[in-house]
Amino acid sequence: MQSFVNIEHFSCGYPGHFVLDDVSFGIQKGDFVGIIGPNGSGKTTLFRGISAELSALTGVVTLDGKNIHKMSLRQRAQNVAIVTQTIEAGAMTVEEYVLMGRMPYRKQFQFFENENDFAIVEKYMKLTGVDRLRNKFMNALSGGEQQLAGIARALAQEPQLLLLDEPTSHLDITHQVQILNLIRRLSHDLKLTILMIIHDLNLAGEYCDQLIMMQKGGVRKTGIPMDVLNYKDIEAVYDTVVITRTNPVSGKPVVFLISEDVMSTKKLP
């Protein structure tokens, strides 16, 4: 069956060496999918491949049946929005920054934003809660607020597919939960398809509908969190001893780590 986002035998990489080799998976419309895997397993490269920053060496990436790599830059920006880990927007206000999300819709020589642009920006600033920060400079915001503004900007692009690169890294749990709740709402309420790189396995298990586990430039396992987050796969991919249990309230998988000295004195169950 053709999925909404379809990646088939896709390889890409940097000059001289392959990083991503023969990756295939599909995502249904409105799914919130987490990409997990250790550093260097090709998560960010996969993002660059999907967003066509890196050209395909083999295979295709399609979105709703259309090849993303064959779209024009403008078309692509109307369909795929990316929120990067760091948002270096410097001295522009939050509102100016979010308005940049409307750039893919500007006519060739359109100089100013139109009413529709303002309305859309207003809507997504409210939705993400950054409307009260509208006149603040981006570089005066905290990391969490910057991520929220980044998400608002990406939503203003009105994309079919939203790519998030570790939106919760460097944030405290308040902001982690705030942002992930927001993303989850977006995928449910707006039927937005979301692909997110995330390092924290517990957050990945708790929030995502589907997980893609990557290893050495390939996909090791895909499926619902309960299937993907088992100790055998995690230990094989991360080369670390873990224990998995179930969250008594949400019923989602939880991953525990064990320190070296505990491990030497206790027997693993």
Binding site: S51, A77, T84, A91, T93, E95, M103, E122, R134, N139
Partner: protein
């Protein structure tokens, strides 16, 4: 929404203020000189084609004024463009070695005695020097991976060192007469008398302004960085290359008619940024007008302060620009805003 609307109103007021300031500077510049012409009499004189003052205005002061506006606007505009595509607030036309190349071209023409051939020799050699340097910088910095902005900057600085060494070599082997004309040229002056060159300078700097305005939004997107601008659907490669050429041509033309006038491209865009923000839709026009005002006033000072002699205009722009810049930067904590 209110924030952005107020911003547009501020832009209009800002542009109006700059235009007014330019008008005042023009009036001051036209009235001052060896023969003082009161500002109040300017309209009257301009309607009397047979008076001596009329000849002074139309033959000497107005051409010079037009050149000041064209060169000031062009240099300041190319500074704003280059800062935008390099995302580096310290870049200006002269950091990229373009003017060094132009100066070298001029020095070669003078040392080999080519300037007696035609009035066009020096401008043409200056322009060639600028363009050759530009191609050098551009092609040396294109790597397999594409256009690397940082290497372009470093190569520009190096090329500028090399050409200034080559120029010093030429100066050390040249005659006293030649040496003096090289030095004078390097210090910059707006006393070009050929009306065709002045017209070329004016039209090309206006054309540069118009072309650049088509890229105001891509320049805004580039404030987020190359990759992120691409994510917003901007063809950054085309934008950066095209704007680099526009900025270089503008600088090449300015340098070839007026010599090396430093600081305009660095200081003026910065002051405009501090006053009105970093949105290129206002920054480009603001920089152009600001550069024009700055050079008109500097030139007026340069030719009156030690009259009947004339100071090289580079001395004035360096002093005035640098001092204003230091004062403004140390008074506001706005240097964080410079990106």
């Amino acid at each position: 929404m209110a924030g952005i609307r107020t911003k547009y109103w501020k832009w209009i007021v800002f542009l109006a203020a700059l235009l007014l300031l330019l008008a005042i500077s023009v009036a001051i510049s036209l009235s001052s000189g060896e023969i003082d012409i009161p500002i109040s009499r300017l309209p009257q004189i301009l309607s009397q084609p047979d008076s001596m003052e009329f000849t002074i205005l139309t033959r000497i002061r107005i051409p010079r004024l037009i050149l000041a506006i064209a060169v000031g606007g062009a240099l300041s505009l190319s500074g704003a463009i280059l800062q935008g595509i390099y995302r580096n607030p310290l870049v200006e036309p002269y950091t990229l070695g373009i003017s060094g190349g132009a100066a070298l071209g001029i020095a070669i023409a003078i040392v080999f005695g080519l300037n007696s051939l035609s009035f066009l020799t020096l401008p043409v050699f200056g322009f060639l020097g600028a363009i050759i340097t530009l191609f050098l910088v551009y092609f040396l910095s294109i790597k397999r991976a594409g256009l690397s902005i940082n290497s372009m900057l470093l190569i520009g600085v190096m090329v500028s060192f090399i050409s200034s060494s080559a120029m010093m070599f030429l100066m050390s082997i040249s005659t006293t007469d030649n040496l003096q004309s090289i030095v004078f040229w390097v210090m910059g002056a707006l006393d070009e008398s050929n009306s065709m060159l002045i017209r070329i300078a004016m039209y090309s700097s206006l054309a540069g302004l118009i072309i650049t305005y088509f890229f105001a939004q891509p320049l805004n997107a580039l404030r987020l960085g190359n990759a992120k601008a691409k994510h917003l659907g901007i063809n950054t490669d085309v934008t950066v290359r095209l704007l680099f050429f526009v900025a270089s041509l503008l600088t090449g033309i300015a340098v070839s008619v007026a010599g090396v006038i430093g600081f305009v491209g660095l200081v003026i865009p910065h002051l405009v940024r501090l006053l009105i923000g970093n949105d290129y839709r206002i920054l480009l026009g603001g920089s152009f007008l600001g550069g024009a005002i700055f050079l008109v006033l500097s030139d007026t000072i340069a030719r009156t302060i030690i009259a009947p002699n004339e100071l090289p205009i580079g001395v004035i722009t360096g002093f005035a620009g640098g001092l204003v810049f230091i004062v403004v930067l140390s008074r506001s904590r706005s240097h964080v805003k410079l990106n």
